[in-house]
Amino acid sequence: MATISTAFDIATGALDADQSALDIVANNTANANTPGYTLEMPAWEQNDSVSLNGVNFGMGVTLTGAESQRSLVLDEAMQQQTQAENASSARLTALNQMQALFSGATSAGTDTSASSGIGSDLTNLFDSLSSLESSPADDALREQVLSAAGTLASDFNGAASQLESQRTSLDEQGQSVVAQANTLLTNIAQLNLQIETTSPNADAGTLEDQREQDLTELSQLIGIRTVTTENNGLTVTTVGGALLVSEGQAFQITDGENDGVTHYYDSLGDDVTSDLTSGGGELGGILTARDQDIPQTESSLDQLAYAVATQLNTQNAAGVDLNGNAGAAIFSLPAGATEADPAGSAAGITVIMTDPSEIAAAGAGQGTSDNTNATAMANIANQAIVNGTTASQDYSDFVTSLGSLVTEVSGENTAQNAALTQLQNQIGSLSGVNLNDEAAQLETLEQSYEAASKLFTSLDEVMTAALNLGVQTTYSS
């Protein structure tokens, strides 16, 4: 038969459990805005019942602890999406800076100022040559050709040097991202150790929260893959499989200069630059812009600069200048630039002709007012000289493809952002602290605490009655 003191034990247990549950609610409420905090729910457990003389009696309740409301599947999906989103976002920032260099292409009219870009510079150069047709000996018109050529060359130089400085600054950003990532790797390794010792078999609560938060931050920086190991440990690798964290050990990413830019190496000394480029995270975006987008843009400009300079030089050499000499070179290109590999042409193109009378407007063997060669030079504007098309068409194609690339990456980023928000909502609906829920739970716990206290009062009366054996006044509680 069950005793009254058993009932006292059950009531005490209920009060203890309610108090612990209240602690959990208080903690949830306190951490409602803590980044990475995962909602904890009290885990109630019914005590084992006792069987006396064939009758089963319940033995009350115990609170076994707080359970973090976590989904590892969602967390991992979130990490991957974060990596993709941050990569496209960093790349988009770089591309936006890049396209700003060529925004002159969107200005209307025949603005002759230098800021309206390479497109109008090309127009002005060829127009100045066609103006020369009407009076080939005119010094002012000749001067105009040289000045248009100078503007074109300096705009090529300006664009190339700004691209190069963007590339340098991306390179520096990459290094600082890797430094942050290395710190996080160390943190994760330490948390691994703590989790393995304190909670090898169950969810590690706040430690786990911290580790998840570090992984999310790491995902913003670089592309990673995670594998859960025994004892609740975590192995972190790059997307390509280079080891970054194993158990309690962090393997730092090191960097070194290679071919003018920073390359990254794993703990074995292998070059993981391309792995990190395709992996994602901010670093992935930065490296994509640094190693792919900027070099592509530079090479388009190089091709155009090379083609215009060599064509005009060749045509100028075919004529005779105002002094009766064969035409000299108008432009100088860096040594070693060839049609197949015009690298450095945009950065290195300069106008070396200083005397406007050296422009060979006349055809070979003709007098100073002959314009056949000036006409031929002006007609280069309509000839397919680069990528199978004219200089202007080539620049127009370049502008369109750069703009399209920005639009494409921007669209990609918007979609990834939406997917990320979706995931954040899903995780939030599972793991976020809802203050209304906490308020409701607080109310419930308050009532059950009151009820358990009431139980004491009632049990006390029952106990008094039992002690007095029915006599009312002998003993009072």
Binding site: A108, G109, N124, S392
Partner: protein
């Protein structure tokens, strides 16, 4: 299902998004251009490069054509002077040939003809902005020099036979000059040679035996010069036509460009007002939701 308790953050993110939309729209309104970055409309940006190129070519041709017009006008008026001088030369010669004049009158006609020859010579040596217009491609060289130490005097052509052309943006070629040796000293229709001959014919006071034939030759020459003048006039007409064409093309292209880049103010204003409404709604939702919490009722 439990909702994400952090929905407030999402609402604020939406608020940011509408603010950014408003900013873009305001920029479009302010600049009047719907393409401010390549990515706003990559195809339009590319097309704009080509349009600007074509407009630039048209504009520059219009300017070139104006100065070329002046040069052709100068050539034309020089030839017009030559024609009128030759006409008076013919009447002088005819007068001298009819045998009613005395020796001193004939001699004076010879002198007058020499004056006409000098005038024609100076017309043949006409310059435009320092360039001899009738010396082929040798614009820096005086086309004709006259040697009067022999009789008849000899005019020597020092230019070449080069004909220059101006190319219009559409590739049409317009003749810019007629070389002097094609007008003034062409074989069979030698203007200066015939004049020199006539001056010599009358220089003695008695018209020489070749005077009549030379006078007839002068009429032929006059017809020939008139023909050459037509070449220049044709060029002027074609140039004017080409100039008109490029100007109208330029106007056309400019309007295409404007349509391509111009912001549609009505549309943007509508979008802006929609964005504003959305923003107001979002702010109110945030304000209302922010007040509600069960904790207030505990």
């Amino acid at each position: 299902m439990r909702v994400d308790p952090q929905y407030m953050t999402n609402l604020v993110a939406s608020l940011d998004a509408t603010s950014s939309t408003e900013e873009t729209l305001t920029e479009e309104l302010a600049s009047g251009s719907r393409v401010n970055q390549l990515s706003d409309d990559p195809v339009a940006a590319g097309e704009n490069v080509l349009l600007s190129n074509q407009i630039g070519a048209d504009d520059s041709f219009s300017q070139t054509a104006s100065s070329t017009q002046s040069m052709l006008q100068v050539s034309d008026s020089a030839l017009s002077t030559v024609v009128s001088q030759l006409t008076s030369a013919i009447s002088l010669a005819t007068e001298a040939n009819n045998g009613t004049l005395d020796a001193s009158d004939v001699e004076s006609i010879s002198n007058q003809l020499a004056g006409i020859r000098d005038e024609v010579l100076s017309m043949a040596n006409t310059t435009y902005l320092g360039r001899y217009v009738f010396s082929g491609s040798q614009g820096g060289t005086e086309p004709y020099t006259l040697n009067t130490s022999v009789s008849p005097a000899v005019a020597t052509y020092q230019g070449d036979s080069d004909v220059e052309y101006l190319e219009t943006p559409n590739g049409q070629q317009i003749q810019l000059n007629v070389p002097g040796n094609q007008i003034f000293s062409a074989a069979g229709t030698n203007v200066l040679g015939t004049l020199n001959q006539l001056v010599a014919d009358y220089s003695t006071g008695t018209p020489s035996s070749t005077a009549v034939a030379d006078t007839e030759a002068l009429s032929t020459v006059l017809g020939y010069v008139t023909q050459q003048r037509v070449l220049i006039d044709n060029s002027i007409t074609r140039l004017t036509a080409a100039q008109n064409y490029t100007q109208s093309e330029q106007t056309q292209l400019t309007s295409v460009q404007t349509n391509l880049l111009q912001a549609d103010v009505g549309q943007i204003a509508t979008q802006l007002s929609t964005a504003e409404t959305q923003q107001t709604a979002l702010s109110q939702v945030i304000a209302t939701i922010g007040k509600q919490s069960l904790f207030n009722d505990l």
